[in-house]
């Protein structure tokens, strides 16, 4: 028995490649959930109703301080006791999505905080409603600069999807494991899984880096223009 069999590699590759679509769709759906939930958490954290803010902070800290694998087990194996039975895929997407939403919320928060206070005041002075202040004025300025950071979390979540194999989602790693246990050859399937992760995440990382450079350059240009306007501390 050779250590590496090319015949077996070519045989097993299409099977794992097919499973990649499960990995990708889980990543996309979970990240969409993380982004939407993240924005909600970030906005609610600025509420003037303190108990709500404390609840959100506590919950976020709790979620970030516990391993995602434990959370996935909880969602998949424990929620049925409370009458909520989810398919492995749905449980996985919710588990990862909620876990990453707490990180996304932090990134949104940094974006929101970098919008000058004057923008809030101008939006108030023009009598925009509370929701419109967010949707028309603050978020359109807060989000573009943080897109690269969100992108980094997207890649990092993508690389976390093998965790889903633990709750029986048949994604790439699980497929490789099944193939391995059938043929007693694990080297080729796991290598293929690693290779596919690399091929997808490395170019994405480069793309995000490029975007970051581009955004920084634009920010610098804007700053250069703005510095012409004399900066005067607001008085009372």
């Amino acid at each position: 028995m050779t250590i590496w069999s090319w015949d077996y590699t070519f045989e097993v590759f299409p099977v794992i490649f097919k499973a990649m679509w499960i990995t990708l769709s889980a990543t996309i759906v979970a990240f969409a959930l993380a982004m939407v939930l993240g924005i909600i958490l970030a906005v609610l954290r600025r509420s003037s109703f303190k108990p709500l803010v404390w609840t959100i902070i506590g919950l976020s800290e709790f979620i970030r301080a516990t391993p995602p694998l434990v959370q996935l087990f909880f969602v998949f194996y424990d929620l049925p006791f409370f009458g909520i039975s989810l398919s492995p895929f749905v449980a996985g997407v919710i588990g990862l999505g909620v876990h990453y939403s707490t990180y996304c919320a932090e990134i949104y928060r940094s974006g929101i905080e970098s919008v000058p206070r004057g923008q809030w005041e101008a939006a108030t002075a023009l009598n925009f409603s509370r929701t419109q202040r967010w949707t028309k004025v603050i978020l359109p300025q807060a989000i573009p600069p943080i897109i690269p950071m969100l992108g980094n979390y997207l890649i990092s979540m993508f690389k976390d999807t093998p965790l889903l194999s633990a709750i029986t989602v048949v994604e790439m790693l699980q497929t490789a494991k099944i193939a391995g246990s059938a043929s007693f050859r694990y080297l080729e399937p796991f290598t293929i899984v690693g290779f596919l992760f690399l091929v997808l995440s490395y170019p994405s990382a480069l793309l995000i880096k490029q975007l970051e450079v581009h955004l920084n350059r634009r920010k610098k240009e804007n700053k250069a223009k703005k510095s012409k306007v004399k900066d005067v501390a607001p008085s009372c």
């Binding site: 000058p116 023009l126 009598n127």
Partner: protein
Amino acid sequence: MLTTMSKEITEKRIQTEKPFVVYKKVSKSFGDLKVLREIDFSVYPGEKVAIIGPSGSGKTTLIRLLMTLEEPTSGVIEIDGVPLWHKEVKGKLIKADEKHLHKMRGQIGMVFQQFNLFPHMTVLRNCTEAQVKVLGVNRKDAEDRAKEMLEKVGLGTKLDNYPSQLSGGQQQRVAIARALVMRPKVMLFDEPTSALDPELVGEVLDVIREIAAEGDMAMILVTHEMEFAKDVADRIVFTDGGKIIEEGSPKEVFENPKSERLQSFLRRMRK
């Protein structure tokens, strides 16, 4: 003088009409710092009031309360007889909710020291967005009105530019147009030229002068430009240490200041 006639008209009004904005014993503190101390102050319909005074005398805070950017610590502000920060329920004044503030705010407009244009919108969009989303004007009419006002401030050719492509003076003029399109009854100016390079101050003051001469809208101007205040205002209010120390016609205040504090302030400003 351009404004003499409108001043006479306003003076007549003041004798006959009720004040539009009234401050009753309004105080504001930030922590231990008392910025305003029991201010009584009113503005009549169409009246132009300039607020002068040393930095930290509370003049900016005074107008920020009216724009609902700061909440008064105590006292009542009324717009057209209706409390701004309070609602009357069974004869008692309780704290107003956002819905009430939203209703009241429509009567006030504001121009800021730092312009605060929306950087992600073109000049035209800056002047149409609130008309469409807040007033419910259709986009075509909103654009017509925005173009008219931008023409008035001399920026009819910059519609598609972004704020970062404009000079400070141009940005401030867009900000004035953006406030005007909303048809406020009272317009607040918070040191509109303090953040500008000296050579750009004139163009902004000229635009404000022109708007003031048109009459209808009341204006409260917080400014350090004494000559400008003298020209434009029907009444000058001098604040120091969170109180109104002296007020009167520009002539009275500038030529015959009564209080020691105003006298020394004017001496310092003339240097």
